[in-house]
């Protein structure tokens, strides 16, 4: 039993890295997710359905395919990767940032869907009311729309975080499985299972993954409930 609670330094590194990757993926994709959700819910522009399909693609494509696309686009010699690395000094390939990018993209459809649903349910007549009281579009959004969609944003963030934590296929394809750099919980478990005698380590990390997920779900439930009670004025 004791050995289930004694982590090796490699395992601790994988746990820390997973949390960092998932947090960065969630926070980094949030502003874009809110923007895209607003566009899809409210925008009337050419190419709206194409954007919708593009956003949802990672949900239906095999994760390996998404990872491969990322490799082509953001690899060291990829179309965007070369530009980002040479001109801006941002490197995704075989770095933890690449793992975060892969996780963000895989979680993005879930984030956008959750926010979009809550944008659809906002009573737009309240926004008209705010306008007649003197609030310009930005103020209407900040003081009326945003508070009302907050439950959806929280739900989307949790889903995105959970998805990032479990991301395997796209990550391992895009940034491989380098201990200390790109080896997250799922890839570490996979590695343990590949070597004889690695079962104990795999079990330890599995329990950690279960614990993080359960805590995250409970936390999200509590936050979302508070936010929606607030939005409904109860």
């Amino acid at each position: 039993m004791a050995e289930l609670l004694t982590f090796t330094p490699e395992e601790l590194t994988a746990i820390r890295l997973s949390l960092r990757v998932a947090s960065v993926a969630m926070i980094g994709s949030l502003p874009i997710g809110v923007l895209i959700a607003m566009l899809l819910a409210r925008g009337r522009f050419w190419g709206r359905s194409a954007l919708n399909v593009l956003v949802h693609l990672p949900l239906v494509l095999p994760p390996v395919v998404t990872g491969y696309f990322l490799l082509i686009l953001f690899g060291r010699h990829g179309t965007l990767g070369e530009f980002l690395a040479d001109d801006l000094g941002i490197v995704f390939a075989f770095r933890w940032t690449g793992a975060a990018l892969a996780s963000a993209i895989m979680g993005f459809p879930l984030l956008v869907r959750a926010i979009r649903l809550s944008v659809d349910s906002v009573d737009r007549r309240l926004e008209d009311a705010a306008a007649t009281l003197g609030a310009g579009r930005v103020w209407v959004w900040l003081t009326v729309t945003l508070p009302l969609i907050l439950p959806g944003i929280v739900a989307g963030m949790i889903l995105s975080f959970a998805r990032a934590l479990g991301e395997f296929g796209a990550t391992i394809t895009f940034v491989s499985n380098i201990p200390g750099e790109t080896q997250t919980l799922p890839t570490a478990i996979y590695t343990f299972l590949q070597v004889p005698g690695g079962e104990t380590g795999a079990l330890r990390l599995t329990l950690v993954a279960v614990a993080i997920s359960v805590v995250a779900m409970f936390a999200s439930e509590a936050v979302a409930q508070r936010a929606s009670r607030r939005a409904l004025g109860l």
């Binding site: 306008a131 007649t132 003197g134 310009g136 004025g233």
Partner: protein
């Protein structure tokens, strides 16, 4: 001073209406679908009409000819919506103060304490809209619109979602806005009782067009508009003052230009101005001054106009010392009594016909605004 002229096509419906108002409360009256809400939405800037020009005071809000369209949030047109539209995530105090953030500091107007006192919502400030009754919500919505320091207030059937009791609770507050705060109001309604009670100027809308416009008493006395104002509820308005109280029988005596009316006791001081709506169906016609009759109110007048065509019921307008009184009676009675324009008659009204719907504080004339206390 408000001047509105708008045309707008929406599918099969065409709005093509114009009116002007010199302040007070202008009621837009008409059936559902007559274009009332479309017209005030154009005033509030919630949509851009096909063509039109809207001027409030000296500010041009919409002028399609010169491409002017001031967005809703810069118009300072306060809007009280039918269903309140309070922000559910804010409490009452925050709702009330929402517009003050954006209002120009120099605009003057009432502050929070005054508005809270005026509307009697002091005990609600910490509550959430979800915990308010319909009447409380509407009072908060009115306060919220006022605190944004509007140059003009538009109200879209603010009483329609309320029951009779709650409605009576709001009336006096709207009258106080009109008479004490002197906010110009455009008030949408399909209830003739509300309009009769509140309106200074009446605009009758029908199928997107203005069918009639003028001072409320004058429009309500026009029998040709009965099909639009609703035959059952239609009635004339008399401006009266309290002349005295008959304590023995619990009656109040009101003096109108046409004569005296005795009505069930009203708790008003002598001299108070009061608007009385006399429904056409409550008026009987007699050729002689009636005797041996229980009805207490008899006003002499002259038949001015008879309308109604070949149906069994006709409408009649009487001229009672310059004021209009309308009556509905059978065509048979008209023939039997030989009623023709110019004939001297006596209008008979039962005191009991004056239920609480009949009374409203009359809008005092602009020059002597402070002279009267108007009560409902």
């Amino acid at each position: 001073m408000l001047s509105v002229a708008v045309t707008h096509r929406l599918g099969d419906f065409t709005l093509d209406a114009a009116f002007e108002s010199e302040g007070g409360l202008t009621a837009l009256f008409g059936r559902s679908g007559a274009g009332k809400t479309s017209l005030i939405n154009a005033i509030a800037g919630l949509y851009r009409p096909d063509t039109g020009r809207i001027v409030a005071d000296d500010a041009v809000l919409t002028d399609t000819a010169s491409g002017i369209f001031v967005p809703a949030h810069r118009r300072r047109v306060g809007y009280v919506f039918q269903e309140g539209r309070l922000f559910p995530h804010l409490n009452v105090r925050q709702n009330l103060l929402y517009g003050r953030w954006f209002a120009p500091k120099a605009a003057g107007g009432a502050d929070l304490d005054q508005i809270v006192e005026l509307l009697g919502i002091g005990s609600l400030l910490a509550r959430r809209p979800a915990n308010l009754s319909g009447g409380e919500k509407q009072r908060v919505a009115i306060g919220r619109a006022l605190l944004a320091r509007p140059r003009l207030l538009v109200m879209d059937e603010p009483l329609a979602s309320l029951d009779e009791g709650r409605r009576a609770e709001i009336f006096p507050y709207i009258e106080r806005l009109r008479d004490e705060m002197r906010v110009p109001i455009v008030y949408v309604s399909h209830s003739i009782a509300e309009v009769a009670r509140l309106a200074t100027t009446l605009v009758v809308l029908s199928e997107g067009k203005v069918a009639a416009i003028g001072p409320t008493a004058q429009i309500m006395g026009r029998i040709d508009l009965f099909p639009l104002t609703g035959r059952a509820e239609a009635g004339a308005i008399l401006a009266t003052r309290v002349a005295g109280h008959d304590d023995k029988f619990g009656l109040t005596v009101l003096r109108a230009a046409a004569g005296e009316l005795r009505v069930p006791h009203l708790d008003l001081p002598i001299g108070a101005a009061l608007r009385v709506r006399i429904r056409a169906r409550d008026v009987m016609i007699s050729l002689e001054p009636p005797t041996g009759l229980s009805a207490l109110n008899v006003l002499p007048g002259v038949v001015a106009e008879i309308a109604g065509g070949d149906g069994p019921i006709v409408q009649m307008r009487l001229d009672c010392a310059g004021e209009a009184l309308v009556a509905r009676l059978t065509r048979r009675s008209v023939e039997t009594l030989g009623l023709v324009p110019g004939k001297q008659v006596h209008a008979v009204i039962k005191s009991i016909a004056f239920d609480h719907h009949a009374f409203a504080g009359a809008a005092p004339p602009a020059a002597s605004a402070d002279a009267e206390i108007a009560e409902g």
